[in-house]
């Protein structure tokens, strides 16, 4: 055996560990560890320094001191602005998810029932907008929802309303924006679930006398459960922490936690506070995130089974 072989054999007992370790190490270093650092900084205080926070773990006078500043978390709990922002974010994300589901389910269902060639084109048409810049599409809505924007022009012109609707810079605009941006993320998992639905089950139900609506509620909906959950998680979790949409469309009245994190970090330069906001956000989202992971795991195993 050549010396090169012997060296690699010693360093890497099994070649497959080389394949595993590269992405594993990357994600550990650049995804997992950063969250631990955020947790640590959340216990720090703002300071005029580079970086702009006080150290949590210090070695002074031969003593290793750990200074956990709980002030950030105290402020989060006591300041009504933060509490309101968290609750508002959950509310906006929740309602938007529901609307996405109500619009997306019929769309996914219809596409899944189309003949195979049309189906692929139909699906591609759903996905294509999300490949176009997210930022640009939100910008498009700015032009439409403004007071002198196209929606109001059209409605005024048709005589449906007398005075322009104030939609821009209100929470309603944020709702529209979130539903618009996240709709494809609801449709895709629903579609991949519904397309595997065995139509013979519905035929059997019909043969046994069930009306189409009853068959839908008792057979189709329960079977598409995993698709519904996946779609809802894919919309709700990122929507809670949304920043761009409420910032551009929602106006000052739309208080969402992503905006508070941003302003703590960029406007106030208070990195520890921003970290505390992030930690609490993650804690709130932990349950939905775990639900999503259980679904992901089952999906992958189901496919391999």
């Amino acid at each position: 055996m050549s010396s090169w072989r012997r060296l690699t054999r010693a360093l890497l007992p099994h070649p497959r560990w080389g394949v595993i370790s590269v992405p594993y190490a990357w994600m550990l270093v650049f995804f997992a560890v950063p969250f631990l650092i955020v947790l640590k900084i959340a216990f720090s205080t703002q300071a005029i320094a580079i970086p702009p926070y006080t150290p949590v773990l210090e070695y002074i006078d031969e003593a290793l001191t750990l200074k956990l500043n709980l002030g950030n978390f105290v402020e989060l709990a006591s300041d009504s602005r933060y509490v309101e922002a968290y609750l508002n974010s959950l509310k906006i994300a929740g309602i938007s998810t529901l609307v996405c589901l109500l619009i997306g389910y019929p769309m996914a269902y219809t596409i899944a029932r189309l003949p195979p060639t049309t189906r692929n084109i139909a699906l591609m048409l759903v996905v294509l907008p999300s490949w176009i810049s997210f930022l640009i599409r939100i910008y498009a809505w700015m032009g439409i929802l403004q007071t002198n924007g196209l929606l109001n022009q059209a409605l005024l012109g048709m005589g449906v309303i007398d005075a322009p609707l104030r939609i821009m810079n209100t929470p309603l605009a944020a709702y529209i924006g979130i539903v618009y941006a996240y709709l494809p993320f609801m449709i895709l998992p629903l579609y991949s679930n519904l397309v595997k639905l065995d139509l013979r089950l519905l035929e059997a139900a019909h043969d046994l006398g069930a009306k189409p609506w009853k068959a839908f509620v008792t057979i189709t909906v329960p079977l598409s459960q995993s698709g519904i959950i996946a779609g809802c998680m894919l919309v709700m979790i990122p929507a809670v922490g949304e920043f761009v949409i409420p910032e551009l469309l929602g106006g000052p009245g739309t208080l969402m936690i992503g905006r508070l994190l941003w302003s703590e970090f960029f406007a106030a330069g208070n990195w520890p506070m921003a970290s505390a906001v992030a930690i609490v956000m993650l804690a709130l989202l932990m349950v939905p995130i775990l639900i999503f992971h259980r679904y992901q795991q089952r999906e992958l195993e189901g496919r391999l089974a």
């Binding site: 992405p23 994600m27 650049f30 032009g143 920043f243």
Partner: protein, 280 residues
């Protein structure tokens, strides 16, 4: 009468409205990029002047160039790492820590961007700070983009690998090929369309990212979405309409070419299969 086959009228109605909802804003954006007046909501004639103004805006062009470079490099790295991760998830026997690996790989799919951006910046400060290197800059943006786009690429390639019949790979191994050769000669060519769509998706996501880039970019590495965002915050600007139309043209053309190419490949493969069956 059951609607066991074919879509109902209600379904088709919702579908059409849904498409209108998805596409009208985009269409309006493109139309108004040709608007002669500066007011982005009142049409006053056809003009190309915003496109001209766009190409004369140097800061916009340099931001575009930076974004394209980063997007290209991020997508390539994301596909390489994503393919490795997908192989591990679908082809490797369960090992200790595989569940954690799976969770780590797919977590960025649902993580709010402000959280990812903040955590990555703090990571770079911890990592690069002591070395005297600035934590913000092109390198940081590249690492950040690879990290969060890898999740999407891995999901795409994993689902393709999971659908792929193992019999081809097993046959090759029975004929004596080692695992590496099997991967490069058999698996890779078959999953190539998934790799390409993963690359394209990662490219698009990187090109579009504003939140994460804002956290980790330095003063000399302003990306295009960051420029667009700061411009748009001040109000509507037809130059942005023009830029948006060009970007959409770029992405749509790429996607359509990719889709048409895949379609042709699929047709060719069907034809080859037919021929093989006839001769066999």
């Amino acid at each position: 009468m059951s609607n066991a086959q074919g879509a109902s009228w209600f379904g088709r109605g919702v579908l059409t409205l849904g498409y209108a909802f998805l596409y009208l804003p985009i269409l309006i954006l493109v139309i108004f990029s040709f608007n002669a007046s500066r007011i982005s909501t009142v049409w006053s004639g056809f003009s190309l002047k915003w496109y001209v103004a766009l190409f004369q805006d140097d800061s916009m062009l340099s931001a575009a160039w930076i974004s394209l470079k980063i997007a290209f490099l991020s997508a390539t790295a994301a596909v390489i790492l994503g393919t490795l991760a997908a192989m591990v998830m679908t082809r490797f026997k369960p090992f200790r820590g595989k569940t954690l690996f799976g969770a780590l790989i797919t977590a960025p799919l649902v993580m709010p961007e402000v959280v990812t951006g903040l955590s990555l910046l703090l990571m770079f400060v911890t990592l690069f700070g002591p070395l005297g290197v600035s934590p913000k800059g092109m390198m940081s943006i590249w690492i950040a983009h690879v990290t969060f786009t890898m999740a999407f690429v891995t999901v795409i390639i994993s689902s393709r690998l999971a659908e792929l019949e193992k019999s081809l790979e097993e046959a090759a191994m029975d004929l004596g090929a080692n695992r590496l050769k099997v991967f490069f000669v058999i698996t890779l060519p078959i999953i190539m369309p998934a790799l390409l769509s993963g690359w394209l998706l990662a490219f698009t996501l990187s090109l579009d990212d504003v939140v994460i880039s804002s956290f980790v970019s330095g003063p000399d590495s302003t990306t295009l979405p960051m420029k667009i965002f700061s411009s748009v915050r001040l109000g509507l600007n037809p130059k942005i309409n023009a830029l948006a139309s060009l970007l959409m043209l770029l992405v749509s053309t790429g996607t359509l070419i990719g889709w048409w190419h895949m379609h042709r490949e699929e047709k060719r493969r069907q034809r080859d299969l037919q021929l093989a069956l006839q001769q066999g």
